[in-house]
């Protein structure tokens, strides 16, 4: 395995964990949602490297795309949804 | 192991009546004697020896014009039936076919349970007298009697175990051949327990709260008068003797002749009289406890050690 791949993988890992950290720590729900979408997005990149283009596409479209939109749809309807 | 059972024949009836007659008279005289002795101990003069006969005749002659109903009659009837029955189901004179009465009908157990018979009837009858205090007397009497019977039952059972029979005749037979063969010496615990029970059932102090003339002006017997009373007086003469005969047979070697019987009965009776003049009266729960604490353990000891 080339060093490049490992480096990329490590970077992605750090990014994902960082985003996940933001997700569970963010002050605002909206931030958390965005960060979760980001985790998904990074994951789909990771899938590409894991030779899983189908999964990558799906994760990108559904996991980070649609799901995040759904979140915001609902968030918009529960008065800001700030922590209470 | 049993001796051949004596069988019924018609001659037993007159002989039985004779037994009843003898015992009845002896009982009357002795009751008076005891009363006299007790009075003398208390530095009183006491009744004439024939006073009981006078009372009895007088009472039999009296007629009552009121009744509390049939159940009321049952008191004396049960009582006297119990007394006579007990006497007749026990062989009076050892070795005498004539005076073995109706002992073929049942054994020691019958005698043991027949002791109850009179009490039950008395309780029934007195309860019907319409007097609340008679009921109180009954509850006390029954309570005390049940506690007093327990050591007796234990002693009886110890004796039965000791001789491995329930036949009174066999038990007496086993005690023949010298004073030391008496249960009194072969099984002293049983006799001690039985004698304590005996004290309790003689309606004398300290166990006479049932009749309790002081606290309760009208105990159960006092509701009875005239012929009822006469019948009960008859029983009061007869029943203790019948009971003592049982004791004598079981614990004191029985009696082979009437004089021996008279003597032994008198002596046993005197135990109760002696205790009676010495001790004050117990309350019922006290006497129950007394029996349970003192007499019952002796009985248990007797049963266990046999």
């Amino acid at each position: 395995m080339s060093m490049v791949l490992i480096a990329i993988a490590t970077l992605l890992t750090i990014a994902m964990i960082g985003a996940a950290w933001v997700t569970i720590r963010a002050k605002k729900v909206a931030t958390a949602m965005l960060a979760a979408g980001l985790v998904s997005l990074f994951a789909s990149v990771m899938f590409l490297f894991l030779a899983a283009p189908d999964v990558a596409m799906t994760e990108a479209a559904i996991g980070s795309g649609l799901t995040t939109f759904l979140f915001f749809f609902v968030l918009g309807r529960v008065r800001g949804g700030s922590d209470d | 192991m049993m001796e051949a059972l004596v069988e019924f024949n018609w001659m037993r009836i007159p002989w039985a009546l004779l037994t009843v007659f003898i015992v009845f008279n002896y009982g009357f005289l002795m009751t008076a004697l005891i009363q006299k002795i007790a009075a003398r101990v208390g530095r009183r003069h006491g009744i004439p020896i024939w006073q009981n006969y006078i009372d009895l005749i007088k009472n039999y002659a009296l007629r009552t014009s009121i009744t509390h109903g049939v159940m009321f009659y049952l008191g004396p009837v049960f009582r006297l039936s119990g007394g006579v029955g007990l006497l007749l189901f026990v062989p009076t004179i050892y070795g005498s076919d004539m005076f073995s009465n109706f002992s073929f009908a049942g054994d020691l157990i019958l005698a043991l349970y027949f002791v109850f018979f009179g009490t039950l009837g008395m309780a029934l009858g007195a309860a019907e007298s319409g007097h609340p205090y008679s009921a109180i007397g009954i509850t006390r009497g029954l309570s005390q009697m049940t506690a007093a019977e327990l050591p007796f039952a234990l002693a009886v059972f110890a004796v039965a175990l000791q001789y491995q029979t329930l036949s009174i005749t066999d038990i007496v037979a086993a005690q023949q051949g010298g004073v030391l063969n008496w249960t009194l010496f072969t099984n002293p615990f049983a006799v001690a327990a039985a004698m304590m029970s005996f004290l309790g059932s003689m309606m004398r102090p300290p166990f006479d709260v049932v009749l309790a003339p002081q606290e309760i002006p009208i105990g159960p017997p006092t509701e009875y008068h005239s012929s009822f009373l006469a019948m009960m007086q008859t029983n009061r003469a007869l029943f203790p003797i019948a009971k003592i005969v049982v004791y004598m047979n079981l614990f004191f070697g029985g009696a082979a002749s009437w004089p021996v019987l008279f003597l032994k009965v008198f002596l046993i009776y005197m135990v109760s009289a002696f205790v009676g003049v010495v001790f004050p009266r117990f309350r019922v729960e006290q006497s129950i406890r007394w029996f349970l604490i003192w007499a019952v353990p002796l009985g248990i000891l007797a049963v266990v050690l046999v």
Binding site: L5, T23, I24, G63, L70 | -
Partner: protein, 118 residues
Amino acid sequence: MDWIAMATGFILILMGLYGALTERNILRIIVSFTVANTGVNLVLVAVGYMHGRTAPILDKTVPVAEAVARIIDPVPQALVLTAIVIGLGVTAMMLTYAYKLYEEKGTLDVSKCRDLKW
């Protein structure tokens, strides 16, 4: 690569679950669960990964005859696809319920939703 992905996946699961089990806001709980789900997907795919092989798609570069030696295990990928879609379904359901809860109770706090207990 697969190790890293798998470890990352596990960490994401744990982080997601921590969020899901400690947050009170139901929206945050749902968000945390999606993170955990992403982690699961990562683990699943990582299990199927094999060094030096390519995606299980046969074309000119990977002829049928060489497939056995050239492609990675396609099964986990198929499973992940299904899992992702199901995850979306569940997430959507939960969001709807959250919305409904808010409509009825005016709060998003799950700990306030305790009419049923014991």
